[in-house]
Each structure stands twice: as structure tokens, then as C-alpha cells.
Symmetry: C2
Subunit: 175 residues, 2 copies
């Protein structure tokens, strides 16, 4: 197995974190990983809010229904239609921002960090709460909140590969 | 820089491929990487069509407007609402399938392969063409076609990181 495949299998949703901060340098590396993602027409319709102030994290922990875990840091991956390079490709923004989000998760594993993806878009109520916490302008949409920290739980690497969901050449061929 | 960060920076859109097939074993590893992605509520609402028959690839090459590149293999990442484990989370399908797509891209770099992400959803005409080529049932939606092969072009690793799109703690803080 290649190292990269092993890293991908090691990425598991971590919901318990050590009580120590994440280095700024590592957060910046995660942001560099996110912004290395592909985007349709190279549109790059994304912005990121990076959070490591305890008072802001506390707001996520207490106000997000799916967010009570004790992560010391977070990255909010956002869509801003005003920063895209090629706005006719804006209809792909959810895919572009999701690719950036996944890059951050995978990079975190390589840095010894754990993460969990908290879904925001398209839940209107959660969008409102996140926008309020990190003061997003009206036209910016948060796709997801990624919690980040040193893992205090251990999970086994895994894939959920299953031949029944793979179709070779097309439906009905299966070989 | 960690190996994984380097791999993420190395993932570039490859549009020229060597004239040799991709080993089945490697295609299966890519599918294992895709199915290791996170999904909302662990829904796993995805199916995959893996293609390495020249006759099917030829259809992609000739019928997809953005697909004339000579890749010998492809994976079509699909959403099937009938395979999800937790269907109340189906509204996150585009994010789930995009995370799986990005995992495949990153894993490919580690296997010495090149890829390019061809956008399909939400372009109705492209969806129809892809459904026709790989015989998808009415209820299955193709998100993307990933072209796969040994790269015949070299691109430098890169990130598109840019401080102007990073907001620390929230909008208006920038520090």
C-alpha cells in the first residue's frame, strides 16, 4: 500500500481532542492544502476563516448542534461569489469547496492532527449560526466547519470499499 | 514539508496521457481511496463506474465537450439515493461525492498517475450524455468523470494559497 493510500485510510472523524493548541504554522499548511484543490475553470470561489481563539471556538462548541466536541481550532470553508476567477463556473462551487475541505482533512492526517467535517450548507439554521459566529457578510456562504486538533481518540484506518457499488464499464456489465 | 502536503501540491489537472493502460489493481486502489471519504451521517450515497475499455473511453473522448484528452481509463462518481445508509442526509450528497472524487485524485498522484476532473452535475446536457455512455438508471446522477492515466505532461507542484482569502477568527479580524 502506498503512503498516500494509508494516509487516506487513516483519515477518520475525530470527536475528542487533546487539550493543547494547534500551531499557527500547521493551520497555514492546512490552508495551503485547501487552496491546492482543483476547481472548475480554475475558479477558486473560496474563502476560509481560520479560528484558534478559545472564545470563538467556545461559540462553535455551544451553539452548533453537531459541534460539542472540544477541538481547539477550526477552519470554515466558504463560498464567496465575489472572489471567483471565472464566475460562469460558479455553479460548481459546492464541489470546489468540498474538494478544498477534503484536502484539509487529508493534510491534517499527515501533520498528526485529527479533524471532523461538520456539515453546514444547505441547512439554513446552521448557516445563520456560523455566519453570526465568524461575522460573514450576507453574500458569503459557509459550506462546512472543519474541527481541528490533536486526537485524543484512536480509530483504525479503513476504507468502505464494497464491490457491490462498483460497476465496470457501465451499469449491467459488472466484471 | 510533509510528504502528504507535497502530494497534494503535486495534484495538477493532466490532459495528456501516455499510450498505455492503467492496471486494474491501481484502479481498485483508487476506488478504495474514494470510498474512504467521509460522508454526512456516514451515508455513503455513492456508486462508481470504472471504465478501462477503449470503446467506452472513445465515447467519452468524442462526446464530452470537455473530454477530448486521451486518457485510457476513467471513474464516474455517481449519486444513487437508493444506496445511502442514512437517507435523511441525502442533501449532502454533492459534498460527499466531491470528497470521494478528491480522494481519488490525491491517491492517483501517489500511484504515479495523472487525472483531470470533468464537471458533469449540474449541467443537464452533460449528465444525459454520461448517463447514456455508461447506462446509468434514471435515478442515478453522475457528479463527475475523472480521467486517469500515466501523465505525458509535467506540471509543477503548487498551491493557490493567498492571504487575502484567509480571515483569522472571523471577517474583519485579519491577523
Amino acid at each position: 500500500m502506498t503512503d498516500i493510500l494509508e494516509t487516506i485510510f487513516k483519515r477518520r472523524s475525530i470527536r475528542s481532542y487533546e487539550d493543547r493548541p494547534v500551531e499557527r504554522e500547521k493551520l497555514i499548511q492546512l490552508l495551503q492544502a485547501g487552496t491546492a484543490a482543483p476547481s472548475a475553470c480554475n475558479n477558486q470561489p473560496w474563502e476560509f476563516v481560520a479560528v484558534d481563539e478559545p472564545a470563538v471556538m467556545e461559540q462553535f462548541h455551544t451553539r452548533l448542534e453537531d459541534g460539542p466536541y472540544n477541538a481547539p481550532a477550526a477552519i470554515v470553508v466558504c463560498y464567496n461569489p465575489q472572489v471567483g476567477q471565472t464566475q460562469r463556473c460558479d455553479r460548481f462551487w459546492e464541489q470546489d469547496c468540498s474538494a478544498a475541505t477534503e484536502n484539509i482533512h487529508i493534510a491534517a492526517v499527515g501533520l498528526g492532527l485529527g479533524t471532523v467535517w461538520l456539515g453546514v450548507h444547505p441547512i439554513e439554521e446552521t448557516i445563520s449560526i456560523v455566519k453570526d459566529i465568524v461575522k460573514l457578510p450576507e453574500h458569503v456562504t459557509p459550506l462546512a466547519v472543519i474541527y481541528i486538533g490533536y486526537p485524543a481518540e484512536k480509530k483504525e484506518p479503513r476504507t468502505k470499499y464494497n464491490e457491490s457499488i462498483i460497476h465496470w464499464q457501465g451499469y449491467g456489465h459488472k466484471k
